[in-house]
């Protein structure tokens, strides 16, 4: 790992100290987050210098060039009154192929991005770094049996995108600021909701892996490969049970009802995936409902919960619910899109996975318009030899990918509009950037 800072005499560290972020920690953490944002390695001159406010320039030394640019931008970060990261979410990494293929997919519109470049992960670093630790603690306290603990914590190693806790905590802080202004801190109950949402999500992943016989997830061998199906299923149940205990401990009836609804939605979404509908129109509606249940429901309901815990009224709770819902739908749409465009290395799991599982996702459903021969393939769930390849080709030939991107963009824009209803704050800006990230991510 490259050392990004020159510690000590750097003016940054003093300012960072003021902002109470340990620079040593920041080092590794930012590095990791940069990977996740796909911003790694190249820091071009254009990246952030023009957006800084009241920067302090450090003396340039050739071998320190990399560090200097970075510390310059960090100086900007620290010096600005609003703490802001500097990673322009839309500058592309130089990973061949995928970068180029995405160049047509950008949704840059003047004025659609905030003035300050916010990195939500950077912003919430302190909150997020502990989420996985707390989750593992809660699971550890739930059992004395080591092998159960091992399976249960397999996916909680910090390699996930942590989108759900990130969005939940962003919303929590944004809402707290909206209602209470500077007097806002993060409630521990809100942090718990972030943990619970990640646990529910992971439990569903664990169960999905049993069904899908998947070999890879998040770049590591899936749980099945290492243990047996029955134990894995039980580990998933264990995580859910511990999450239920945590939900009950919140002692809030509304939140309990909302979060329990999520689990039901997840299962019903899975069931919907098993069945299939006859007509094209029905199919799309079916797909959207299934997508809501499987993905958006969790995000929407967890942001709604943190809002309720802040003491917000119904109207505000609804704003955050709709934000979460739109964000979740966009997230899944982009996920379905990425299944057709990205390569194995970037994603952590192989592509055309949905087709191979017999699932007709948005790009395929859109492509049906131009290529009706996809219809029988959908009905037989791509079981015939050659179906998967043919469908893959047809999707690329059609406008399916663009249309999916467009739909995702619509949802993101709606999410941004809703976020703009909240009082301005770095966290509120973070919500907007998160919507943008969801749209433009690569893995």
């Amino acid at each position: 790992m490259r050392r990004v800072f020159a510690l000590g005499e750097n003016p940054v560290t003093t300012v960072l100290a003021m902002a109470s972020i340990g620079s040593g920690r920041l080092c590794a953490r930012v590095q990791e987050k940069l990977c996740q944002w796909g911003q790694y390695t190249r820091r071009e001159a254009y990246s952030c210098v023009r957006t800084k406010i009241g920067s302090q320039t450090a003396p340039r030394v050739p071998q320190e060039r990399q560090n200097e640019k970075h510390s310059q931008s960090l100086a900007a970060t620290a010096a600005s009154t609003v703490s802001a990261g500097c990673w322009h979410p839309c500058s592309r990494p130089e990973i061949a192929g995928t970068a180029r293929s995405f160049s047509t997919m950008r949704t840059q519109q003047p004025g659609s991005l905030p003035e300050y470049q916010i990195d939500p992960y950077h912003l919430l670093e302190d909150d997020l770094k502990d989420v996985y630790i707390y989750i593992r603690d809660a699971l550890r306290r739930g059992t004395y049996q080591d092998d159960l603990y091992e399976i249960a914590t397999y996916y909680f190693d910090g390699h996930g995108k942590a989108i759900r806790p990130m969005v939940a905590i962003l919303m929590a802080r944004a809402i707290n600021y909206h209602i209470y202004k500077e007097k806002s801190g993060l409630l521990s109950s809100q942090r718990e909701v972030a943990m619970i949402s990640e646990m529910i999500h992971t439990a569903s992943l664990v169960h999905d892996d049993v069904i899908d016989q998947s070999d890879f997830r998040r770049g590591k061998p899936s749980v099945n490969v290492m243990w047996n199906h029955k134990k894995v299923t039980m580990a998933g149940d264990f995580i859910l049970a511990v999450a239920s205990i945590m939900i009950a401990r919140l002692r809030n009836n509304d939140v309990t009802l909302v979060l329990s609804q999520v689990v039901t939605d997840l299962v019903q979404g899975e069931f919907m995936q098993l069945g299939s509908k006859e007509t094209e129109n029905e199919r799309f509606a079916h797909y959207l409902t299934k997508t809501y249940r499987k993905t958006a429901s969790l995000i929407a309901n967890s942001v709604k919960s943190v809002t309720m815990l802040a003491g917000a009224d119904e109207q505000l709770a609804d704003v955050s619910y709709q934000y979460g819902r739109n964000l979740g739908l966009a997230f899944q749409l982009v996920d379905d899109l990425l299944d057709f465009v990205s390569s194995s290395a970037a994603m952590g799991k192989p592509t055309a996975a949905d087709l191979k599982l017999g699932l007709a996702t948005a790009p395929v459903l859109f492509a049906c318009e131009k290529y009706p021969e996809l219809n029988p393939m959908i009905m037989r769930r791509f079981q015939e030899p050659g179906d998967v390849e043919r469908a893959f080709d047809l999707v690329h030939k059609s406008r399916g990918l663009e249309q999916t991107q467009y739909l995702a963009k619509q949802h993101c824009q709606e999410a941004v509009r809703l976020a703009n209803l909240l009082e301005e704050s770095p966290y509120q800006k973070g919500l907007i950037v998160a919507a943008d990230y969801v749209l433009n991510r690569m893995k």
């Binding site: 306290r141 739930g142 059992t143 004395y144 049996q145 092998d147 159960l148 169960h207 049993v210 069904i211 016989q213 047996n228 199906h229 029955k230 134990k231 299923t233 039980m234 580990a235 149940d237 264990f238 859910l240 049970a241 511990v242 239920s244 205990i245 939900i247 009950a248 401990r249 002692r251 009836n253 309990t256 009802l257 979060l259 329990s260 609804q261 689990v263 039901t264 997840l266 299962v267 019903q268 899975e270 069931f271 098993l274 069945g275």
Partner: protein, 397 residues
């Protein structure tokens, strides 16, 4: 529904070799006398609480979404997927423990403490609607858990991988569906303490599948008996803490007890406890219900296993076997073979050895120990019709 019943009738005629899962029993005719006596006791009990609780299990089959998918059942039967056995048992209710019924009876025995509005309970039976929900929840959790244990582990040597995988998928989804519904029902009760306690019972159920040695299909195998058998007590856990198991593995009686507490005792105990909390009882009364539920479940399991040992295959961790091992560990060499493959075990030999040894008598003693504790708890409550029914159930075990 009709075609479904026909399918199950067909599969009940064949005798499957059961896997040695705990809660699955073989479909065979038990001794007529005992069956009649027990089922008449249950019928009486059902009259007391107002309706046949046994049909709660059928909810899983009658739901629309699931009925759709049951068209795949025929294929599963051909493959002899464990899920089919489970579903058959549910439909034909052979000696299945009706926990929901016990919860309702216990609720009735304790009665209502505190003031409740007329809309909250049933005038005829004095049972709160929320208590009935607990009875439904316990059945759903039990069935859901059963579904999840009905998967079939797939490895390199498995044939028909896709079909077995599909069976696994169904079992997993049914189970998830039931568990999800039970959590939302629990949430609707709006009682945090009860929700916490029952979620911890769910956690115990999940833990039960990891406890002790397992074969490749995750069936339980006894641990090697320790040379010196200690009498380890498993404490009552009225809260949400997990149960410890140091000193338990290897002490045959304690191992059996803890295993069955995790598998069924904890669920019945905590649901009884929860039900009485809903009725606003004082602090110690729900605890009595916990003790009652736990001991009843253990006694019940012991009595079922005593009968099961006479079958072709039986659970290797059943009470007669475990208690025999306590007395004579040499049998373990035969049992150990089950660690790599169930089929290597000579069940006939084990049955012969156990039945000629003290295993059965000791099981009776064990059962009596738990039944007596349960009966003692009942003595704390005033006499009533439902109390008599519970006493009869315990005596009929």
């Amino acid at each position: 529904m009709k075609s479904l019943c026909k399918l199950f009738a067909a599969c009940s005629k064949q005798t499957f070799r059961t896997s040695t899962l705990y809660t699955n029993t073989k479909i065979r005719m038990y001794k007529m006398d005992r069956r009649l006596e027990f089922s008449s006791v249950i019928k009486e009990a059902e009259k007391v609480v107002g309706y046949p609780v046994s049909f709660l299990n059928l909810r899983v089959i009658l739901n629309d979404e699931i009925a759709n998918i049951l068209s795949y059942t025929k294929k599963l039967i051909e493959m002899k997927h464990p899920l089919v056995q489970t579903l058959s048992n549910l439909v034909f209710q052979n000696e299945q423990k009706t926990f929901g019924l016990i919860v309702l009876l216990m609720s009735k025995v304790a009665g209502l403490s505190g003031n409740f509005r007329e809309s909250e309970y049933d005038r005829g039976t004095d049972i709160l609607h929320s208590q009935r929900v607990i009875a439904e929840v316990i059945e759903m959790i039990k069935t859901g858990h059963l579904m999840h244990t009905s998967l079939s582990n797939i490895d390199a040597s498995t044939k028909n991988v896709l079909d077995i995988n599909f069976g696994n998928k169904l079992a997993l989804l049914y189970g998830d569906y039931l568990l999800a519904i039970s959590s939302s029902e629990l949430a609707r009760l709006k009682n945090h303490q009860v929700q916490q306690i029952i979620s911890s019972a769910l956690r115990d159920l999940a833990e039960s599948q990891f406890f002790g040695l397992r074969d490749p299909q995750n069936n339980p195998i006894p641990s090697k008996p320790l040379p010196e058998q200690k009498d380890v007590k498993i404490p009552n856990e009225f809260g949400v803490e997990p149960l410890k198991f140091e000193d338990v593995l290897g002490n045959m009686k304690a191992e059996w007890t803890l295993r069955n507490i995790l598998c069924s005792g904890s669920l019945l105990a905590k649901c009884c406890q929860g039900s009485l909390i809903l009725a606003d009882h004082e602090f110690f009364v729900p605890k009595l219900a916990y003790i009652f539920g736990r001991n009843l479940a253990l006694a019940w399991q012991a009595s079922l296993e005593k009968v099961q040992i006479k079958e072709e295959t039986f659970s290797l961790v059943s009470a007669p076997v475990m208690l025999h091992l306590q007395h004579d560990p040499s049998l373990y060499t035969e049992i150990e073979k089950g660690l790599s493959d169930q089929k290597k075990v000579n069940y006939d030999l084990i049955r012969k050895v156990v039945m000629s040894g003290p295993g059965l008598d000791k099981t009776d003693q064990l059962k009596k120990e738990f039944s007596d504790t349960a009966l003692n708890v009942l003595n704390n409550f005033s006499d009533s019709g439902s109390k008599t029914v519970l006493i009869n159930i315990i005596k009929a075990l």
